[in-house]
């Protein structure tokens, strides 16, 4: 069946951003799939290390941190430190990779977007989806380490899609916000990198909460990423549900940021496209 581009265009309708944009995106799901697959195959097929590169990168980071913080500083955690550390690194890597690649996706696709009509959000969403796929692949070494270290794999692992999808919404929304700003100013992406690093340090990936002086705890509790990490660690190795407020923060920020991102982006697209 031939599905040709949306068969009705009325520029006035574009003023109802959310409804028309989302309906529009559905028509381009084939393109979304194609872009995600292309992103992954380019990364895996065309480099010698291929899929191992995705696995190697967080493992190397983990090894360095494990030597420094596990052996020199001797951080105490309830589970073996390696499991605590790697789970944190993986989630924060997913976050930062996705926000940066979704944030740069619009500028990078400007040659297409300024010539052919495609809902521009498709490029941001496909970047976020590719990062999610990478995250899933990089879970494999974590699960192996859990087995080797005797932590095991709890049944709650089947609930992983919940934090995974919430994170996808968060990074897609943030990515769209960054992407709109990046069209105006090209240093926005560098700045975003720095901010993401800051958020990463405010997330207890490599240190236990017990070493944080009480007066600084609000900084960590105030970081939404902490809630995502609590839920993720609960499901992936602890086998427990994180406290209810973590779920509220996670789902709440995911929905708010996604809606905000799509809304701001579609509202400003008119001004962005003439700058591409």
């Amino acid at each position: 069946m031939t599905t040709v581009s949306p068969n009705y265009y009325d520029s006035d309708q574009a003023r109802r951003p959310l409804v028309s944009e989302l309906a529009n995106l559905w028509g381009y799901r084939g393109l979304l799939r194609l872009l995600v697959v292309r992103d992954l195959t380019v990364r895996y097929k065309r480099s010698t290390l291929g899929v191992w590169w995705t696995l190697l990168n967080p493992l190397l980071t983990m090894s360095v941190m494990w030597v420094v913080f596990g052996n020199f500083f001797r951080f105490e955690t309830e589970v073996p430190y390696v499991v605590y550390l790697l789970s944190g690194i993986l989630l924060v890597t997913y976050f930062s990779q996705a926000v940066i690649s979704a944030g740069s996706s619009i500028v990078n696709s400007s040659s297409v977007l300024s010539k052919v009509y495609v809902p521009p959000e498709v490029f941001a969403f496909s970047a976020a989806l590719a990062a999610a796929a990478n995250f899933l692949i990089s879970l494999v070494p974590l699960l192996i380490i859990q087995l080797v270290m005797g932590v095991g794999i709890p049944w709650t692992i089947v609930l992983l899609p919940i934090p995974l999808v919430a994170m996808l919404a968060l990074v897609a929304g943030l990515g769209l916000l960054v992407a709109s700003a990046a069209v105006y100013f090209f240093d926005v992406l560098d700045l975003t990198g720095v901010l993401i690093q800051l958020i990463g340090y405010l997330t207890p990936t490599f240190y236990p909460l017990s070493i944080i002086p009480p007066e600084f705890l609000p900084l960590i509790y105030g970081n939404p990423l902490y809630s995502y990490l609590l839920v993720f660690r609960g499901f992936v190795y602890e086998g427990v549900f994180a406290p209810w407020w973590a779920f509220v923060v996670m789902v709440g920020t995911a929905i708010i940021v996604l809606v905000l991102g799509v809304w701001v982006f579609s509202r400003s697209w008119k001004n962005l496209v003439v700058l591409l």
């Binding site: 040709v4 068969n7 265009y9 194609l34 292309r38 052919v116 495609v118 240093d187 008119k270 496209v273």
Partner: protein
């Protein structure tokens, strides 16, 4: 020849925002904001243009370079949303404005057929099925598995044309592409467009070749500095335009 017009442009305008001393970075912008040096000037590339194209009509846009012809085409193609006014397009659109926009030089001819077709809003699985026929029509069957960075510009243009016209659209936007390829290809591509027109496809056609315009267009618009100076019968508009140059 009934029903609403496939293309309707109502008082449409498009402004590019030029900022003097455009701040490329956020840092610079912040400094200028503090110094109160942020100024924008609007450049109207298209201003208050209205026209409609009925089914099966060839509507041609002429005018000097920088008149806003390509901008107007991109507005109809939905790439540029109008700053003011309204544009309605009923039915599918094949934009032959920048043929092969979205081609990736590292991917093979086959992969590019699928990618470009999908960017044009078609289904990837449908494009996979059509790829051999598209390649055959573009006379590129032997090069289907070669990355297109080794294609010549003529081959690229043929491939772009073949993908864009593979599906019969309700509206065809043509920006001077009739002049791609060698003579044999020009003939076949012209034939394909004529078939579509006979079948009811509406065409918006931008050209500098006034001879072709007089020959193929049903109506002509003369665009100058973003403003429609004259709309009417090809012979009259072309004559007035030639008189002004």
């Amino acid at each position: 020849m009934s029903g609403p017009n496939p293309v309707e442009v109502q008082d449409a305008s498009l402004a590019y925002r030029l900022s003097h001393n455009r701040a490329g970075t956020l840092k610079e912008f912040a400094i200028r904001l503090v110094k109160r040096q942020v100024q924008y000037e609007r450049l109207w590339a298209v201003k208050g243009v209205s026209f409609s194209v009925p089914r099966g009509e060839v509507f041609s846009i002429i005018g000097p370079n920088g008149a806003g012809k390509s901008t107007l085409m991109k507005m109809i193609a939905r790439v540029l949303p109008p700053t003011a006014g309204r544009i309605v397009v009923r039915g599918s659109v094949s934009p032959m404005i920048e043929l092969g926009a979205g081609f990736n030089p590292e991917l093979t001819g086959y992969e590019n057929i699928v990618l470009y077709g999908t960017l044009l809003g078609r289904d990837p699985s449908y494009m996979r099925g059509r790829a051999p026929a598209i390649a055959e029509w573009a006379e590129l069957t032997d090069f289907l598995d070669v990355p297109i960075r080794s294609y010549s510009s003529g081959m690229l243009a043929r491939l772009g044309f073949a993908v864009a016209t593979d599906v019969k659209p309700e509206v065809l936007l043509v920006d001077e592409v009739l002049s791609v390829g060698d003579e044999a290809f020009q003939r076949t591509s012209k034939l394909r467009i004529e078939e579509m027109i006979a079948d009811g496809t509406s065409v918006v056609f931008v050209s500098h070749n006034l001879g072709t315009v007089k020959e193929v267009a049903s109506r002509v618009m003369w665009l100058d500095h973003g403003v429609a100076k004259m709309v009417g019968k090809p012979a009259e508009v072309v004559k007035a335009y030639q008189g002004s140059v």
